[in-house]
């Protein structure tokens, strides 16, 4: 059970975090066992990514021990923007609706140059998706909801105040040393999921290098409490008069909390800039005489880097432990959750003996593709926001100067290209033999669409998909009976495409079938059902595209 404290204290340098959920350490019988107990999966790190991985595996019936060195969440304010694809994953895990209700939904971004609005962009121009383009919600609320969900799942056991201190690699397992308030113990695991964040102990213990770029510019990130009726939009300024020569970002969060990022340049003095009077003065220039309180202040320099490999024998890296990006574009936690989702079903299939270990290697290829995409996008954004030299800044400023009059220049402005799901260019898809148009793409998550049940209830396409492989079938002449182990989601009588949106988004004709992986990514589609082809496509995935099918 969590105990929540609200109201933090102000220290000399900055305000400390103000919301904490605290959980209890419990002694586990594993700590007293004569010989190390063996577990199928240990996850290290109860951040959003480790929690999502544990929940997903637990729902698939895989017993998971999740360890975390802390016994609380809410250390500092971090992620706030949760993207549509992440929300869809949260929905499958059982917390999506709750988080959307708790968060603030937004889809409009506004860009200013100086004090002039240069343009606005709508991140969700089309209706008919269950999940919004984005919600803003403090990361600790997301973590708390995930902990609550994990606690409901029998197969998941969370051990707070359990700190990983040693890893010994063996052929078919790892031996872990874990420190607790009662002293250390040893635990064996068939698989270790390393979700222990940017300063990953697992990474250090394996001696892995974590290479990439660190950006010179420093950024002041503040969460303030303020009753204000600013619109629920992402507002980004280049060179505003209240913060000349630099950029600023403002975002609404629940509870009258606002996130403000102020670029400080490379030479800012970190200790000086964190002083409350200094921060307050900067914010007053931005906000005028509106009263506000500082909730939390920190200064960051951002990194873009990743591990060369995410799979190291029986140790599987996910989230910030595997890769780190600058926050422009909200790609950190969002991509980590997508790592967790990509890994969970694959690992479950391998543990259950449904797939060979080669499937794990596809976690690495698919998610390295995603990490590289995320790193490229957030590097470009950071370079646009903080050009490397005067010469580069001149070009950036020319883009901004043209933006008022030329559409092409508006499209070049990059204040963060917000996170979208990766289209896996993967051996796990069967290339189309029939032509398909429309927004659905092989290797991408299925686009959502509104549907209506026979009894009149409205719902969404993604809700009709199960946790395993699903064959989505459009009503046609021939009956569709998917091969064993593949669920059927039929669009026709029980679940109806009343608005025609399913057909439009999938370019569906009567009788067309679509094979979805357990993570809802499309891996094959045909104009007519053929049981042999569907089974072969599923087998191809489980055999990791190794041509075994």
């Amino acid at each position: 059970m969590a105990e929540r404290t609200v109201g933090g204290k102000t220290t000399g340098a900055a305000t400390e975090r103000k919301s904490v959920y605290r959980y209890g350490y419990r002694h586990s019988p594993d700590q007293d066992a004569g010989a190390p107990v063996r577990r199928p999966v240990v996850v290290v790190g109860a951040g959003p990514v480790g929690l999502a991985a544990a929940i997903d595996l637990g729902r698939r019936g895989i017993p998971v021990v999740l360890i975390d060195d802390a016994d609380r969440i809410g250390e500092g304010s971090r992620g706030i923007c949760w993207a549509k694809r992440t929300l869809e994953i949260f929905d499958r895990l059982g917390v999506g609706e709750k988080l959307v209700a708790q968060g603030v939904t937004w889809k409009l971004g506004k860009l200013y140059h100086g004090d002039e609005l240069v343009f606005s962009f709508d991140l969700q121009p089309e209706a008919g998706h269950k999940m919004p383009a984005f919600i803003n919600l403090q990361q600790f609320y997301v973590e708390a909801a995930l902990v609550e969900r994990a606690e409901e799942i029998e197969a998941v056991e969370i051990r707070w105040k359990n700190r990983l201190t040693g890893i010994e690699q063996h052929n078919d397992h790892v031996r872990l040393t874990i420190d607790t308030p009662d002293g250390p113990y040893v635990l064996d695991a068939d698989w270790l999921i390393a979700a222990d964040g940017a300063r990953s102990t697992a990474r250090d213990l394996l001696g892995l290098s974590f290479s990439g770029v660190t950006f010179e510019d420093k950024f002041l990130i503040a969460d303030i409490r303020m009753a204000a009726d600013f619109p629920t939009e992402r507002r980004f300024w280049f060179d505003p008069s209240f913060h000349a020569g630099q950029s600023a970002l403002m975002h609404r969060q629940p509870d009258n909390i606002w996130r403000i990022d102020l670029q400080l340049g490379p030479d800012a003095d970190v200790a000086e800039e964190q002083k409350p009077e200094r921060v307050t003065a900067r914010l007053k220039r931005m906000l005028g005489d509106r009263p506000f309180e500082l909730e939390w202040v920190s200064i960051y320099r951002f990194n873009c880097r990743r591990l060369d490999r995410f799979v190291h024998g029986r140790v599987l890296f996910v989230g910030d432990a595997a890769h780190q990006v600058s926050p422009f574009g909200a790609r950190g936690a969002n991509s980590g959750i997508q790592d967790a989702e990509n890994l969970a079903w694959k690992l479950a299939a391998v543990i259950k003996g449904e797939a060979g270990a080669a499937l794990i290697a596809t976690y690495e290829t698919e998610r390295i593709q995603a990490a590289d995409e995320n790193i490229a996008h957030s590097t470009r954004s950071t370079d646009f926001i903080a050009p490397h030299s005067e010469a580069e800044r001149d070009l950036r400023d020319a883009v901004l100067a043209l933006a008022g009059q030329a559409e092409f220049a508006r499209r070049m402005i990059n204040s963060g290209r917000l996170s979208v799901a990766t289209v896996y260019d993967s051996s796990l898809v069967v290339p189309d033999e029939d032509a398909f148009a429309g927004p659905a793409r092989l290797g991408a998550p299925l686009p959502d669409a509104p549907v209506r049940r026979r009894d009149g209830r409205d719902g969404f396409l993604l809700e009709t998909l199960g946790d395993g492989f699903t064959l989505l079938a459009m009503d046609g002449e021939a009956p569709v009976a998917p091969p064993a182990g593949i669920a059927l989601a039929a669009i026709g009588d029980e679940v109806r495409d009343v608005a025609g949106v399913v057909a439009a988004r999938l370019d569906a004709t009567p009788g067309a079938v679509y094979l979805l992986r357990p993570d809802q990514h499309l891996c094959g589609r045909w104009r007519q059902f053929d049981a042999g082809k569907v089974a072969a496509a599923r087998d191809r995935v489980l055999a990791a595209g190794a041509g075994l099918s």
Partner: protein, 69 residues
């Protein structure tokens, strides 16, 4: 793949040069540089071809003095 055209394309090259000269007449070097930067962006977009742009950048780099290190 489109190629950069470096043969003359203006019927009256002198007039084209004059248009560019007149655009910067009376400007300081700094103002002219800023104008040129905007022009580069406008013209690059008009060309709208990354390969041609790459060739143009290469030609411009190759024909200027090497940067002092």
């Amino acid at each position: 793949m489109a190629k950069l055209v470096s043969q003359s394309r203006f019927a009256d090259p002198d007039a084209a040069f004059l248009a560019l000269v007149e655009a910067r007449r009376g400007l300081s070097r700094e103002q002219a540089a800023a104008l040129d930067t905007r022009l580069v962006l406008i013209l690059a977009n008009h060309i709208g071809d990354l390969d041609v742009l790459g060739e143009a950048i290469a030609l411009a780099k190759a024909s200027g003095p090497a940067p002092a290190l």
